[in-house]
């Protein structure tokens, strides 16, 4: 094979027998060294900008391995992407070809591109094009309103947090976290480069069945968001797994979830990692405490420098993304620091996370802009104004709630029908939200209030970290 640096994923597979598993199938990775999941059509995709838009994570994973080092650019479409955004994604990423599987929905946005089906089954193919270039990887962010930002990475940066580290041969990775998001992709790459098997999640699989499957496949290292872990701990089937390394990422890990995991898996290392799609993996905390030691900020570690300015965490790192695609916004400041938008507060010798700047609410890893929900509520004919904010929640980390001022705020409803009337209006506003917003953006509760604070700027006063 041609020598490229870093070597392509296919060049890292090695002869050992190991597998990728999902709910329905397993694929033996060593067969991919001289095999294809793309019907032998890899040559058609050489040097092309390719969108991987398969429905299942298993087909995504196999297609990424086959294409890395051959395609010019790989753009990974996350699950639940808004079909209305596809045309912009195809345009901005200069997509020339799309990899689909049997369950991928059809889209008019793909017209004019070459379409290749990934079967998920590896067919022998001795004459595949050799990896000959360093492929650009593009991930989509979840933190924006409208079309997601597209973030360009190199494999060198994506794998810098663990490259060169050897894993024990009995390690089996598992992830609750989708590999089409940054945190999950890290684990996919760790498994491929580390020579281990990997157990993926499957859409629609009940948590108990998933936990049994993780146990049956002997998972030793397991990643999830705090929300994934809280849900797993609610299942009696948690007893089916005995990981020795438990990892959390994607949301703030609070002390309660860290303590519960330590209690449930006393033999395991419980670690929480901090990463963002733009800044890459910044650090991992293994002392069982929420937040991170203040000394992380004072000293560069593995080339990762951090500082806190105006309350938010800034990172300069060889693991950071190179740039945005199709957006004018700069990814880093002039000195090369990425502003993560995550607010931190110093408490003694430790920094604790205090939420997102701009009040962005993180609901089990899905981000919500308050303004987007307010805009919907404010369209309701009886609403004068509204304030949407996050509220701490033991299941999903946070939940959306709304304070609403009605147009007839000065009018006090008659005592006899007042409560019923208020409940009717609240129910009506909620139904209005449910009609147009995804479920996680619909407020869990609405309070009717007489007035909202307006700051000196004339904007709503938002009280947040």
């Amino acid at each position: 094979m041609a020598r490229i640096e870093p070597p392509s994923l296919r060049q890292c597979l090695g002869p050992a027998e190991r597998f990728l598993y999902d709910r329905h199938a397993r694929a033996c990775l060593c067969e991919l060294q001289a095999g294809t999941v793309l019907g032998g059509r890899l040559a058609e995709l050489a040097d092309k900008s390719v969108l991987v838009a398969t429905a299942s994570q298993l087909t995504t994973a196999l297609a990424l391995i086959e294409l890395d080092g051959v395609a010019r650019r790989l753009t990974i479409l996350p699950p639940d992407s808004d079909p209305d955004h596809l045309a912009a994604i195809v345009g901005d990423a200069g997509i020339e070809a799309v990899v689909l599987d049997r369950a991928s929905p059809a889209s008019a946005a793909f017209a004019g591109t070459r379409q290749v089906v990934c079967t998920g089954e590896i067919a022998p193919a001795p004459q595949l094009p050799e990896p000959a270039r360093v492929t650009e990887w593009v991930m989509l962010t979840s933190g924006t309103t409208g079309v997601p930002k597209m973030v360009v990475h190199g494999v060198a940066g994506l794998t810098a947090a663990f490259r060169g580290r050897t894993l024990d041969s009995d390690v089996v990775w598992g992830t609750f976290y989708d590999i089409r998001r940054y945190g999950g992709l890290q684990i996919f790459l760790r498994a491929v480069l580390g020579g281990t098997s990997l157990v993926l999640s499957s859409a629609g699989e009940p948590i108990a069945a998933h936990l049994e499957r993780l146990g049956d496949n002997g998972v030793t290292h397991l990643l999830g968001t705090p929300t994934h872990w809280r849900r797993a701990l609610m299942s009696p089937a948690i007893a089916a797994i005995a990981p020795r390394y438990v990892r959390l990422s994607g949301e703030i890990a609070d002390q309660a979830i860290l303590d519960n995991l330590r209690k449930t898996f006393p033999q395991a290392v419980v670690s929480h990692a901090y990463a963002s799609t733009e800044a890459g993996v910044a650090f991992e905390v293994r002392d069982g405490l929420a937040g991170f030691p203040a000394e992380f900020v004072e000293r560069a570690r593995d080339g990762v420098e951090m500082k806190v300015r105006d309350g938010s965490l800034r990172i300069r790192s060889p693991r950071a993304a190179a740039r945005y695609l199709g957006a004018d916004a700069a990814l880093a400041d002039r000195d090369g620091f990425v502003d993560t938008g995550d607010m931190v507060e110093l408490r003694g010798e430790r920094y604790l996370f205090a939420g997102r700047r701009g009040g962005i609410i993180n609901i089990g890893g899905l981000k919500v802009h308050p303004e987007e929900v307010e805009a919907v509520i404010n369209r309701h004919p009886r609403v004068r104004m509204s304030l949407v904010r996050g509220k701490k929640n033991p299941v999903t980390g946070a939940i959306v709630i709304a304070d609403v001022v009605l147009k007839e705020a000065g009018h006090k409803p008659a005592a006899d029908d007042g409560a019923g009337e208020i409940d009717r209006v609240k129910g009506d506003i909620l139904q209005f939200c449910r009609d147009v917003l995804p479920r996680h953006k619909v407020p869990a509760a609405i309070s009717i209030v007489p007035a909202l604070d307006v700051a000196a700027t004339g904007k709503l006063a938002r009280h947040h970290g």
Binding site: P206, I207, A208, T227, R230, R231, L233, M234, S235, P236, Q255, A256, D259, N260, K263, I363, G364, K391, K392, N393, P394, V395, T396, I399, I401, L430, R434, R439, H440, A444, A445
Partner: protein
């Protein structure tokens, strides 16, 4: 209204709002088999705080989210006193 009845009503309402089918709420029912998902339970805890004036899970760092419906009701019965 008893704590248990309040919880039952709220679960029925959330299931309806989220388009889920609620399993019969026996004490030994595993919550994850009730038909509500993580978001459903998140909403439930927020609504119960409104109705019962307490979120026992956020109030205490110790509290573990229970596995069964019966245990869930007990956490609120203890928290409401």
């Amino acid at each position: 209204m008893s704590v248990k009845l309040t919880i039952t009503r709220q679960m029925e309402e959330i299931a309806r709002e989220h388009g889920k089918i609620l399993a019969p709420l026996r004490d030994d029912l595993v919550l994850l088999d009730s038909g509500l998902d993580s978001l459903g339970f998140a909403v439930l805890v927020a609504r119960l705080e409104d109705k019962l004036g307490v979120d026992p899970f956020t109030a205490s760092e110790e509290a573990v989210f229970p596995v069964t419906f019966g245990d869930f009701v007990k956490v609120y019965e203890n928290g409401a006193h």
